[in-house]
Symmetry: C2
Subunit: 504 residues, 2 copies
Amino acid sequence: MSAAETFAKLRAHARETALVASIGGLVEWDEQTYLPPSGGDWRAEQQAYLAGVVHARSTAPALGEWLAELRDSDEARDPESDIGCVTRELSRRYERETKLPGDLVEEIARTSSKAHHAWTTARRSDDFAIFRPWLEQMLALQRRKAEAFGYEASPYDALIEDYEPGETAESVGSVLTGLRAELAPLVQAIVGSGVAAPSEVLRESFDVETQAIFGKAAAQAIGFDFASGRLDVTAHPFCGGAGPNDVRMTTRYNEHDFADAFFSTLHETGHGLYEQGLPGEWFGLPPGEAISLGIHESQSRMWENLVGRGRGFWRHFFGPLGEAFPVAMKGVDPESWYFAINEAKPSLIRTESDEATYNLHVIVRFELERAMIEGDLLPSDLPAAWNEKYASIVGITPPSDANGCLQDVHWSAGLFGYFPTYSLGNLYSAQFFDQAEADLGDLEAMFAAGEFDPLLGWLRKNIHQVGQRLSASQLVERVTGKPLSHEPLMRRLKAKFGELYGFG
Amino acid sequence: MSAAETFAKLRAHARETALVASIGGLVEWDEQTYLPPSGGDWRAEQQAYLAGVVHARSTAPALGEWLAELRDSDEARDPESDIGCVTRELSRRYERETKLPGDLVEEIARTSSKAHHAWTTARRSDDFAIFRPWLEQMLALQRRKAEAFGYEASPYDALIEDYEPGETAESVGSVLTGLRAELAPLVQAIVGSGVAAPSEVLRESFDVETQAIFGKAAAQAIGFDFASGRLDVTAHPFCGGAGPNDVRMTTRYNEHDFADAFFSTLHETGHGLYEQGLPGEWFGLPPGEAISLGIHESQSRMWENLVGRGRGFWRHFFGPLGEAFPVAMKGVDPESWYFAINEAKPSLIRTESDEATYNLHVIVRFELERAMIEGDLLPSDLPAAWNEKYASIVGITPPSDANGCLQDVHWSAGLFGYFPTYSLGNLYSAQFFDQAEADLGDLEAMFAAGEFDPLLGWLRKNIHQVGQRLSASQLVERVTGKPLSHEPLMRRLKAKFGELYGFG
């Protein structure tokens, strides 16, 4: 068979796998949005069935043979070509999936389920001892997983590969250490300024239905195509999907917390715009898939923070905001509004933290999970180590483990190596945004005029349309001409918060 | 292998098939409710994939071998036992599915799609000639299908088997002829009475959100469990589902047509109660499945008409109705309301017709489709035959084919043998309702007191819990002690409309 013929077979096979996976996407979305309460048990069986089909198809021996054939072909030599990209990425995944012994996969699934239950109880009763044995088991399993995959420097490298392919403990550690060194002092300066943001306005009464209309209008204004997607309500906002023209975002509304719904809508819209910008004809195959969690997060954070918390954006939306919420917004001027939505102060909970402090929360987790995976920190020592790092990095001491090392679900689910992608997203986004501004001119002026198309067009061309033809670090180099650095983000944060809090 | 071992394998296989089919149920529901407009093409592929898996599993040779083994076993001898019921029903379906040549199935699917398109155009432009060649092709295909299945008396028998297993052109024809003979004169008497129902109130303004709350409360009051189901909005109301505790009903709201939404909600709730009453542990297998379309329709029609259009029901709901819609209901007394929702008059369109005339519409279709399938009526003669029958049976002459023989989608979709199930449902429902009253006492008095549990409990025990252990005609005999007859329905219609329109 010629490489082209083999590739045609491979592509058809992978497309059908993507079709099944997309059905799983719908089933998952429905579980979060509309599933009746008693439907949960059957739903779990539907999900297990679909996951089983996807796994069987992704590890099919025929697939392995086609990939081996293509790897040897001339046609696959250009890593950015269709065949080159598909062969490289599917080979990487095939190898990883087939390296994991079935009993290990099952044991992780079983342990996750029990660990999740223990974590829920431990957090509710603020009792780390309940979670500790499960954390120990989960760590042991994750280390076995890393051994199965293989690695050079650190077992953490083998784990992060699932979320940010190509990155390592060392590469991520080096950029986050640089960020930490400058960000912690910035947050101290904010605290030291003694200035308080006029954020009371955000707790006024904002009618929930009007919030939904306003948020949807903003999502549409920045480019989300509602003919190819939806925005629904869930307890935990997310962006999923059920097909190439079917992107499903969710948010949640709270009458007395305008910022929560609005910025989570912009955040998910950023994810949604990436999904809608991927090449549809390659849906579910590497040239049509997002590069990594970090690159995905760079899109959500860009629209949420760099666009949505900027002055230009609100020069356009402040008038409509006042018309939509005349009572809540009465007497509020644009500058106080801008300060209110950019309030920064150290807090206990990552998911509620602001643009300035957020990355410090992530850095704590990265350093601790890396130490645990590398054997330098025992689970029994986690609460003390957590509290110490919060004091030294974030500047506050958690009053309880429930609001400390037990606050996140990730470790109970076996997600080690996932946290740093949140910060990588912030770093990528600032570096991309600088470049977009260099290429396009004054973005803030465009946003003030309601023009979001130039930025979206730039993202489509430079990032969305690339699919997985480049790795995350290759993309950063290709688009910005430089390797990833903490400097673009720090420059922005220093300028923004220095001005607001009157220092620097 | 013992019969028990074979049965265990068969049951596990069939259960997984039901699991896949239930995913298809969700995908179909989502298509009707929330699918973004551009998601249609991919959705069609998802549906085709799932249908393919279900078909492959339902015709798997291993399944045929297990069934053959079980048919020879002692354990399958009792037709109402688990093994007996499953073996009989799955054998029947397996035989039918494997008798149909693959190319015929494909040709019907292809032709349906084109015929549907032609039908849409023909109806829009009121031009039967556009649809005629497709109707001819579809008829030829349906006759080939009947030949493939085999039949004794009429090819129509082989087709109705898909919708009302065990019934024949002769059995259905005989009961519908009896019905026609008494119903047509009743409708003539209504017309001849010169009395008009005070139905203007139904066109008043009924706030749509309040309608939704009121309709949902009524569905809940008669027993629908919203922890195991939903009610959403679609253009065409239906009741589907995605699992044993996941029944999905829909309706539609029109501010100036209270009856449309409310009675379609009761109708779908009747279907939903049947689904929720089936034995969940047998979900998707014969002991946990509805007997036939006619029995399903008997449940929807009972709650819609025999309960929901009765005086007792409104003795309970009239007060809340007035509170929900004080302006629209101002000055309306219970008796005019009862007459308004029971207005009867001959009309052109089946789906908009009332309790008295509805079955006449169905009888026209049944007689015409039977004649076409049996070769006694040519498609080219359909418009004339349709108009003649409407004049003689319903008492009006259609002014156009668009509002005449082109009004229904069924024939373009190849659904021959489906129409009579609508009328069978009405006949079953009246005969069951008489028996329930004989067993339980004064049902109207119970409804007036808001007590719907006794009737629902009776339906659960006598009908829902039976699953497919009995055929429709066996069920009627078992529950009512008599074969199906048009008399119970006619007695009710004569009494109700005779009183309202002042005759008889």
